[in-house]
């Protein structure tokens, strides 16, 4: 899958969870194109964000996320990938014109699938999508090494983690890591597929975060 570089897609105003007043004051044409970008702005105003995207909007959402965090605001960060290999993620990031030396990719999938794990300086590999304790340690070590609040952590995605771990464990992890992010003062984003998560899971995740963005179709 390749991030869609050019399109920001359509968003129904009634599912936008934050910045609704601002949206209604803007001309309709600009509203349509600006709504998604403004929506992602709320990530910068919040410590922890739950980003729920439909599968149709997933790629566009991730492109917008990296644009706002890295290209527009020049933040370094950590991207935890459970679905795609670091190699693929790195290639996609580079198409956005984002320098890779500001992004550490924590790859939870390559080792368990036997994909090559050698040769990429911006990647670190965990044993399996079940290695939540190791992931937590890795994030802690990396954030501590950076020693700054001007950074982000993106976990992509909780939906994939739920395929490998019991829901209670994923919720426990989400609660733990969002609290850690808050205590560090950094920007944290938990990504999920909106239609893949049941209401109970979504409701619980919403209470762990400061901000929720839903991009649905």
């Amino acid at each position: 899958m390749v991030f869609d570089v050019l399109s920001i897609g359509d968003v129904k105003g009634d599912v936008w969870q934050s910045g609704g007043i601002r949206q209604s004051l803007m001309p309709a044409e600009l509203q349509k194109n600006d709504s998604k970008h403004s929506k992602f702005d709320s990530i910068l105003d919040s410590k922890t964000t739950l980003l729920l995207a439909s599968s149709e909007n997933y790629n566009k959402s991730m492109a917008d996320l990296f644009r706002i965090l890295m290209r527009d605001n020049n933040l370094p960060g950590i991207y935890v990938t459970v679905s795609r290999s670091c190699k693929d993620v790195s290639a996609d990031i580079s198409t956005l014109g984002i320098p890779s030396n500001k992004l550490l990719v924590m790859d939870m999938i390559s080792e368990s699938t036997g994909t090559s794990t050698s040769g990429n300086m911006a990647c670190t590999y965990l044993h399996s999508p079940q290695s939540l304790t190791d992931l937590s340690i890795a994030i802690t070590e990396a954030v501590t090494a950076m020693d700054t609040t001007e950074m982000f952590v993106v976990i992509d995605s909780l939906s994939t983690l739920l395929l490998y771990n019991p829901p209670s464990i994923v919720m426990q992890f989400a609660n733990f890591i969002t609290n850690k992010m808050r205590s560090w003062g950094i920007k944290g984003v938990l990504v999920g597929l909106s239609k893949e998560m049941d209401e109970k899971t979504t409701a619980m995740l919403k209470q762990f975060v400061d901000n929720t963005i839903i991009i649905d179709e």
Binding site: L104, S112, T124, H127, D134, T140, S168, I169
Partner: protein
């Protein structure tokens, strides 16, 4: 991995945050995998241990540290000076590594450490320490660290003597352990009680008598003592061969290996430490290329079976 920046560029670490983060993460995550599984029986065991009435013995004042970062935070006050503490866990959990690391760190801090091994040879243990980067030559040469192999026959001699004395056939006291003369250890490590128990075939009552004598002997020593004991297969019903050891010990540190799907994760807990404040939770532990790292603020994400 020691490089802090991309060798293909002239970037400094400050310009390459990704590399800096990666270095820190790689250092934390390098580990060796072990196997075994525990269950939620630990809560049952914990309540059993807590309910056991211990003979109240007066511990020497003060506390000692292990020198293992993270574990000392878990212990808060430390191990009470003069205490005899069990280090329990199933095979491969890291008990010997923990004990060797404690021995190394304590000797490096200027304490005299005596490590009694009932299974592995001295040379093998020294080699194992060296693989973690713990240089032992100077510590041994300067008298801070002594590793001594104890043969089953030596134990049997003590046991036979203790049994004979109890029958009135022997009038002199024979110690349960023969310690090197003129080596007044600050820390004594026994690796392991399980190995000692294996020499008592079909004589559990005799072994219990020996264990009671052993703990009384250790109580008279000025050293703080660590006794390694291997737990049975999960679920755990006891942390020592006869449960007598748990009754007599002043504390228990438990090492876990949890099977989680197709991976293993390690953890550690201070189950009990008589007379000392300690954190009461299971926390993450990793066995890395430089030894054991304990993460006192790191939860473990396991599902209790």
């Amino acid at each position: 991995m020691s490089a802090l920046f991309n060798p293909e560029t002239t970037e400094s670490p400050a310009d390459n945050p990704a590399a800096r983060m990666r270095t820190a993460v790689e250092r934390a995550l390098s580990d060796s995998e072990r196997t075994k599984q525990i269950s939620s029986q630990r809560e049952i065991i914990k309540s059993v241990v807590s309910s056991i009435k211990r003979p109240q013995r007066k511990l020497k004042s003060g506390y000692v540290k292990t020198g293992i970062v993270g574990l000392d935070e878990l212990l808060v006050d430390g191990i009470p000076k003069g205490a005899s503490v069990l280090v329990a866990g199933n095979a491969g959990a890291g008990k010997t590594i923990l004990a060797l690391q404690l021995a190394y760190e304590s000797a490096r801090a200027g304490e005299k450490v005596l490590y009694l091994t009932f299974e592995e040879s001295e040379q093998k243990l020294i080699r194992q320490m060296n693989t973690f980067g713990w240089q032992t030559d100077d510590l041994i040469d300067n008298g801070f660290l002594q590793i001594k192999r104890v043969l089953p026959a030596d134990v049997k001699r003590s046991v036979d003597a203790i049994a004979a004395k109890s029958r009135g056939e022997l009038l002199i006291d024979v110690p349960p352990l023969f310690l090197p003369a003129n080596f007044n250890a600050d820390k004594l490590i026994v690796d392991s009680l399980t190995a000692i128990a294996s020499t008592f075939v079909d004589t559990e009552e005799v072994f219990k008598t020996y264990i009671e004598q052993l703990f009384m002997f250790l109580e008279r020593l000025p050293s703080t003592n660590l006794l390694i004991t291997e737990t049975a297969m999960i679920p755990v019903k006891a942390y020592s061969p006869t449960k007598t050891e748990e009754l007599l010990a002043d504390g228990i540190i438990v090492l876990y290996n949890m099977k989680k799907g197709n991976i293993r994760e390690s953890a550690i807990e201070v189950l009990d430490m008589h007379g000392s404040e300690h954190k009461k939770r299971i926390v993450a532990m990793k066995i890395t290329g430089h030894g054991i790292d304990v993460y006192p603020d790191q939860e473990v994400f396991w599902e209790v079976n």
